[in-house]
């Protein structure tokens, strides 16, 4: 198919399904068709030739205000150019078709956005899609587009990938440039792709690598291509399973997903990181304070224009004692050192991505092994300690592990040491090749 035919097909799928899913906040038909025609007109070798994609609406798209899931940013000046990662995907031949729904300012795990509506899970539209990159995961699961971008501060790629049953990559902190994206918490923000196969994920990731001076948090590293390494499989890799917190805060279907993946990989070793709950608390405090400080001027002038789902948390975050936040950063650093040492004995670790499968929209409370916890915040319990120290993770979807909801997926985090995205992707590909992990289209897509 030509790029124009691909773009037209994606636009038709979005038109047919988005009334039900509500993944998109902007569909850019004119832009997409013009870009696709330009792709068709060139003879250049393009690794993503004609691949339609869409981005969480915190990525700058030229000519649109960057909403970041808010009402307030509707008043912002339109972006003057695309975000760096959008430009890199389009330079590789991909075609951007639109912008995707999210939790306001990325502060949530469910994409129950009061301004733009909830994004519904394509595998069961009574359930949440996860968040904050819920539109990004749902659009891939529904087959609207084969590739999307999202962001992950505390789990916002891995949680929706788990709940919507798609593959998601959160690279190492500092790997991909964030320039041209609306920040949430600069100390913890990552960007990354979603796709329905590991090869598509790796192909997109590879073309997005490389330095960009406009993101001071990016670590200058050469492009380290992963697509050519996928066929190496798991040979020679030491694979373990995270215990402790990662078992205690997971319900039986989440633990069963890890057991199934571990069984397929022959991963017998259990690894226990120290003080995981303190690391999670550190991430919680840093996020709350930094996120609030970013929006302080609007909180002072127009707090009621925030989504009620985020407003009170942002207001409280502005009030935190500075010493707590500085101490949280020190604890984070200590935890990163301890975990780095654990990778002397293991190359890849497995852990559940979410405590459970997608809950119904509007769920307020979860019972996790006897603890009654707020449902929305708890969806990130198992992802926060990992992103807190910037480790690369691929989330892989498994199926049929919750007897009460056998139609729903749940994700497993495949975690490696910093800068070893290649290992995460190799193990994810091995699970996909073995038929253990898969991202089928939603039945009604």
């Amino acid at each position: 198919m030509s790029a124009v035919d691909n773009a037209k097909a994606a636009l038709a799928r979005i038109s047919a399904s988005d009334v039900r899913i509500n993944a998109f906040t902007a569909v850019l038909a004119e832009r997409a068709l013009a870009r696709a025609a330009a792709v068709d007109a060139t003879d250049a070798t393009l690794p993503l030739r004609g691949v339609p994609f869409a981005v969480k609406n915190l990525f700058d798209l030229q000519g649109l205000p960057t909403l970041a899931g808010s009402k307030i940013e509707h008043e912002a000046q339109p972006a003057t150019r695309d975000a760096t990662l959008v430009r890199r995907l389009e330079a590789a031949g991909a075609v951007c078709v639109g912008a995707l729904n999210m939790d306001e300012y990325a502060y949530g795990f469910t994409t129950e956005n009061s301004h733009h509506g909830a994004t519904r899970n394509p595998h069961d539209i009574t359930r949440v899609s996860g968040g904050s990159s819920g539109g990004s995961a749902a659009a891939v699961a529904a087959g609207q587009v084969p590739l999307t971008l999202g962001s992950d501060t505390n789990g916002s790629i891995r949680v929706p990938a788990s709940l919507c049953g798609v593959f998601g990559l959160k690279p190492t902190f500092g790997r991909l440039p964030r320039s041209g994206s609306y920040p949430f918490c600069a100390s913890l923000d990552h960007l990354g792709p979603f796709a329905r196969s590991v090869a598509e994920l790796a192909a997109a990731y590879d073309v997005m690598q490389g330095p960009d001076a406009d993101d001071p948090a990016q670590v200058p590293r050469p492009v380290e291509a992963t697509l050519p390494t996928l066929a190496q499989g798991t040979q020679g890799l030491r694979i373990g399973v995270l215990g402790g917190w990662f078992k205690n805060m997971a319900l039986p279907p989440a633990r069963a997903a890890v057991d199934k993946a571990a069984g397929a990989l022959g991963a017998l070793m259990e690894v226990n990181w120290p003080e995981v709950d303190r690391a999670r608390t550190a991430a919680f405090l840093i996020t709350n304070a930094e996120g609030a400080a970013l929006h302080l001027a609007d909180l002072q002038k127009r707090a009621d224009d925030f989504d009620p789902m985020t407003r009170d948390r942002f207001l409280a975050g502005a009030l935190l004692p500075a010493a707590w936040v500085v101490q949280a950063q020190r604890v984070r650093h200590w935890f990163a050192r301890q975990v780095a040492a654990s990778f002397a004995d293991v190359d890849v670790l497995l852990a559940p991505a979410t405590p459970c499968v997608a809950p119904p929209i509007g769920t307020e409370w979860l019972d996790i092994n006897g603890q009654r916890l707020p449902a929305r915040a708890s969806m990130g319990l198992l992802t926060q300690p990992v992103s807190c120290i910037g480790l690369p993770v691929v989330t892989v979807p498994l199926w049929g592990l919750d007897p009460a909801a056998p139609h729903l997926p749940i994700g497993v985090q495949v975690i490696a040491a910093p800068w070893r995205e290649d290992l995460c992707l190799r193990v994810a590909r091995a699970l996909e090749a073995a038929g253990v992990a898969a991202a089928p289209l939603a039945a009604e897509a």
């Binding site: 960009d212 009030l319 604890v331 650093h333």
Partner: protein
């Protein structure tokens, strides 16, 4: 600990005017944070001066570099 008094004082300092609708949620959330923060603060007290912050500054050039 009188959370409400702390919230009122901090809001005054920062120029935040909580409405009657906002305040209960802010107080609930502050109570949650006050319950969690000691997990970090107590542990941080055991660290040494050599345990640096996870937040480090990187010198930068003027904007305008490209990808």
């Amino acid at each position: 600990m009188d959370i409400e008094r702390y919230v009122d004082a901090q809001c005054e300092l920062l120029g935040l005017k909580l409405t009657a609708e906002q305040k209960p949620g802010v107080l609930r959330y502050m109570q949650l944070v006050v319950g969690m923060a000691p997990r970090v603060a107590e542990f941080a007290a055991t660290l040494t001066p050599a345990d640096e912050s996870g937040n480090t500054f990187v010198p930068v050039a003027a904007r305008g570099g490209d990808a």
